[in-house]
């Protein structure tokens, strides 16, 4: 009985308050762009409780995994090291400046990301490593799939839609759009400028041997 009540409540809440909202990101040449951060921020400012669970930015085969991590403001992010070598992760970004020595088999304390913005990560040992943490001021976010599309469940209302990817030449604010939910059909965001070069080949040619000292 209790189970049915929970299911009924969930259905009710999603049908009444949340609307499935589709957003598609296209390049200047109308080609779908994958791995784009899409975030919907309510125009009426709300206080959200910080997520309890830790977000994970791993290091695998001397690459950051995921390449782009989206977290809600005030999230804690843990940096496990799945490689058998040490990493020295750092950021100079204003949203979060830090450095972290990551020894194999030693778990570093999670870091709190309390400022919104883009945090660019590097490793002082492996210069090709590059990763990003997008700290969002909303719980409504996702990354586009291979078709350049995300589907978000968000309550009805007025929103600011933000999209971001390191290959964009446009700043995040330039691409920001107003959006009303519910919306018929998909919201399409089209870039004005060409994408910066795709350097994902840095992720492809991992080597089991590091350079010697």
């Amino acid at each position: 009985m209790k189970f049915y009540f929970i299911v009924f409540s969930a259905l009710l809440s999603s049908s009444v308050f949340s609307k499935e909202t589709s957003i598609i990101v296209l390049s200047k040449d109308d080609i779908a762009v994958a791995n784009v951060v899409v975030a919907l921020t309510p125009k009426v400012k709300k206080e959200y409780t910080a997520p309890e669970e830790l977000a994970i930015m791993d290091q695998v085969d001397t690459q950051f995994l995921p390449h782009i991590l989206i977290v809600q403001q005030d999230s804690r992010v843990i940096f496990p090291n799945s490689d058998s070598i040490k990493h020295h992760v750092y950021s100079f970004s204003t949203a979060k400046t830090f450095e972290l020595q990551l020894y194999k088999d030693l778990r570093a304390e999670p870091l709190l990301f309390s400022n919104t913005g883009i945090v660019e990560l590097g490793c002082n040992i492996h210069d090709w490593m590059l990763g990003y943490i997008f700290v969002a001021d909303t719980p409504y976010f996702a990354k586009t799939d291979l078709h350049g599309k995300v589907i978000l469940d968000v309550p009805e209302g007025e929103y600011v839609l933000k999209v971001w990817n390191p290959r964009f030449q446009e700043k995040e604010e330039v691409l920001a759009l107003n959006m009303t939910v519910p919306k018929e059909g998909s919201m399409i965001v089209k870039l004005n400028n060409d994408l910066l070069p795709d350097l994902s080949d840095y992720e492809q040619s991992a080597d089991e041997f590091s350079d010697y000292e």
Binding site: Y103, K104, A206, Y212, E213
Partner: protein
Amino acid sequence: MNKRVTPSFLFLVVLIKTLIRTKHMLGWMFFLSFTKTYAFEIEGVVQFNYVKSDELPAWFEQDTGILAYSENSVNLQQGLVKVSDSFTNGLSYSLVGNVYQLGSQNIGVSQAQVAFKPLSKDKIRWRARAGFFYPKMSLENVDTGWLSPFTYTQSAINSWVGEELRTAGLELTLYSPGRSRNSAFSWELHGSVYKGNDTLGTVISWRGFAMHDRQSLNNDKVPFAAYPSVVQEDRIFHPDYVEPFHELDGRFGFYLGAHLDYYRQSSFRYYYYDNQADPNVVNYERLYAWRTKFHSIALQHKFNKNTRLITQWMTGSSIMGKHFVYIDFDAWYLMLSHKYKSHRFSARFDLFEVNEDDIFPWDPNNSDGEALTLAWRYDLNMHWQVGLEQHFNQNSADIRATLGQNVSIDQQQSLAVLQYRW
């Protein structure tokens, strides 16, 4: 595997006993790094082999063979420990201590360096290192402790580098990671000044190139056959060994290097090395300074994640005394390596040549050779590896005639190797 560890009491006892016996300062630094702090990374590699050796004994036996082993036997091929750590200010250190069964120095240090690499978001950055280290010329020696993960018997070029070349000095590097510039190309420029590499060139002039994995240690001595033209008092009157890391003339040597990488798929490295030695300086042991300079070009291309091609070419010259010995040398190798699951197959072809143009016809220094090395290495798990290697070469050295030996010989060597790494 890297770990923060607490060293075992037994290991420390063995280390202290060894240090008391050997009285090595670098060894004591190694020991102090254990006692002062336990916050470091420690890696190690131990290799045992069974070798089916060639009949011609090696230079270690003061004979003229160019392969390391002189009899069918079980041996400790490699034993090394690398201790390192890095700190938040960009400082790091690393030290490689080795144990060798072959050679005259059986325990010692092959590399010891302090490096500084400040955190930077600039497109062009800098770093520096000081100590006793290898220039990063080789794309073959990319395993822990400058070992090759491909074959056990290394190329002629890097066998020689391992036995006679080390930088005791300072290296400054300007570098630009491609990803910071939105580019597929990354580059590095290296410049170094150093001392203590004045006898470089001695062994390839007299013995010629050899093929092995024995790296000289900090206070080592590389023996060779007692060639009459070398050791007799009425001839050149030089000992039948060289101590590779001696400073004899007080001059600084230098090298310059440039790296260019396309993603992490293709690598190019060029180095110019000149030890700037005064070839007329001789010490009380009658060891000479040899003015040795060379160019080295190395290339690596990965066709995919599992298959790569590596090649290196070195060309240079060495002079000793008033043209007592003058040689031009050339060597190159081409290696194909393929990984299939936990198996790695590698095949390398080497060609090497030394040509003389000096004043003593009774000290013939021409030598040359070609070699094929085939290796299979299989990772049983992250710690244990087994491997087999078959090596063939044809080589000649005119100086063998002065010992009544055949000038040209064919050599073969088979290795079965058990490796443990941590």
